[in-house]
């Protein structure tokens, strides 16, 4: 029996963990090592760690910090944030991560997917697609943590990424981020329908029912931030992971 992966997403910024709403309003959550230890105890399926300011601030990945975090994790780990070269990717894998998450760099050098994939395997290359409606109301893919619009629709970009060798698509709705309003299931369906590779849904999850809805829409795995770091919507920090976490396919 297969299990659908439920993946907490942790947002890293200068050594601390934060949570955003629609990629903007940020709240300090706590220490990443402490969070990882809790996710070990709760047996989280996988963790995605994203340094969401690294690309905007033109910093490289903080290899020392991310190695320290992975060193505490006995579950699969993915890291994204300012990976711009094969050498960066290599250092992330060496730091104890199974997967890298690429995003902004792909608009300049999409060939990085293939260069990393040919050495580490395509399953190790997750390509993030950040999606929001632009000022014309058109749904577009954004780079640099939602600050820079591209001309691509999510479906166009997903196809290009798959062609370029992506192993998995991390599909993130900026508009739903931190809202607890549920996933954008239309978005998930539109992308999962056109690619063969797994699509990980992110943005808006507020309940187990939301996870199921994402899977029904075509997601191979589900990711969330707020649900795993807050008690409830509008309430205080509580790092948690559901114990009834089985979604079987």
């Amino acid at each position: 029996m297969g299990r659908v992966r439920i993946i907490p997403v942790l947002l890293l910024n200068k050594g601390g963990l934060y949570k955003t709403i629609q990629f903007k309003k940020t709240t300090y959550i706590g220490d990443p090592i402490n969070a990882v230890k809790i996710f070990n105890e709760k047996e989280a399926d996988e963790l995605i760690l994203l340094d969401y300011t690294a690309s905007i601030e033109k910093r490289g990945p903080d290899f020392k910090k991310i190695a320290e975090i992975a060193g505490e994790a006995f579950m699969p780990m993915a890291y994204g944030g300012a990976i711009r070269s094969l050498d960066d990717a290599k250092k992330v894998f060496d730091a104890g991560y199974e997967k890298i998450v690429l995003n902004s760099v792909l608009f300049e050098q999409i060939s990085l997917i293939e260069r990393v994939g040919s050495i580490y395997g395509s399953q190790a290359v997750v390509c993030a697609i950040d999606v929001k409606k632009n000022w014309l109301g058109k749904t577009k893919v954004f780079a640099y943590s939602g600050t820079s619009s591209s001309s691509y629709t999510p479906v166009e970009w997903a196809k290009r990424l798959e062609q370029a060798g992506a192993g998995e698509i991390f599909l993130n709705s900026i508009d739903r981020d931190g809202t607890w309003d549920g996933y954008d299931t239309d978005l998930i369906h539109s992308v999962a329908y056109v690619v063969q590779i797994p699509v990980v849904a992110c943005g808006g999850a507020g309940s187990m029912d939301d996870f199921k809805a994402a899977v029904t829409a075509g997601a191979s795995a589900v990711a969330a931030g707020s649900m795993f770091v807050y008690q409830k919507k509008g309430m205080g920090v509580l790092i948690s992971f559901p114990s009834q976490n089985k979604i079987l396919i």
């Binding site: 992966r5 006995f74 199974e98 399953q123 063969q196």
Partner: protein
């Protein structure tokens, strides 16, 4: 001392970290003397089969491993690609492996996956097919993290010690004499994987 063999293909620190957590002495090494001195060997690895074999050949590790594992019968645990390399041949890159077990490595058969996507990536419940040291005293409902597009295909099913199912049932762990292989990642499988590595260290 357990030697975690470094042949240039990823993800060794997680294996080392789990041993540290368990209080088992282990080192990451490509040094022939350190590998010879170790009581047990772990061959990890994530990546392309051909690259894995090329690296083993070019570094001289292949002949050393043949000597230590086949002749001296030192226990070895292959993980993921490291386990696939122990088979005779892989469809990935169409190259021969070490050939220590009676199996080949093939790509998942897409037409038998009922729409599931390749790679198989995620936690799978495993079915233990026969008792073997590394699966002793596992917590109930053992599940392990898998990330792979290729899997073992055994000519001799008596070497299969566990299976998992992804579209269809496939062998996910094997044992032949002192040689063990796991398709899944014990180092990333919480308490279940921790038990497997602990068991291996006590063999």
């Amino acid at each position: 001392m357990i030697a975690i063999i470094d042949y240039g293909l990823g993800n060794l620190s997680s294996v080392l970290n789990m041993h540290k957590r368990l209080g088992i002495e282990a080192i990451i090494t490509s040094d022939q003397n350190e590998i010879k001195a170790a009581s047990k060997l772990i061959l990890p690895g994530v990546g392309h089969f051909k690259k894995g074999m090329d690296n083993l050949n070019q570094s001289g590790l292949k002949s050393l491993l043949d000597e230590l594992v086949l002749r001296d019968r030192k226990p070895l645990l292959g993980i993921c690609l490291g386990a696939q390399l122990l088979t005779k041949h892989s469809e990935e890159g169409n190259v021969d492996g070490l050939g220590w077990v009676d199996a080949i490595t093939i790509k998942f058969k897409q037409d038998k996956l009922n729409g599931l996507k390749i790679p198989h990536m995620g936690w799978s419940d495993v079915t233990i097919k026969q008792a073997s040291g590394i699966f002793s005293d596992l917590p109930v409902e053992p599940r392990f993290y898998h990330v792979h597009s290729y899997h073992f295909l055994f000519e001799n099913p008596s070497e299969i010690i566990a299976t998992a199912t992804y579209g269809y049932e496939f062998a996910c762990a094997f044992k032949k004499d002192n040689i063990y292989g796991a398709q899944f990642h014990p180092e990333k499988s919480h308490k279940y994987g921790m038990k497997v590595l602990e068991n291996f260290s006590k063999l």
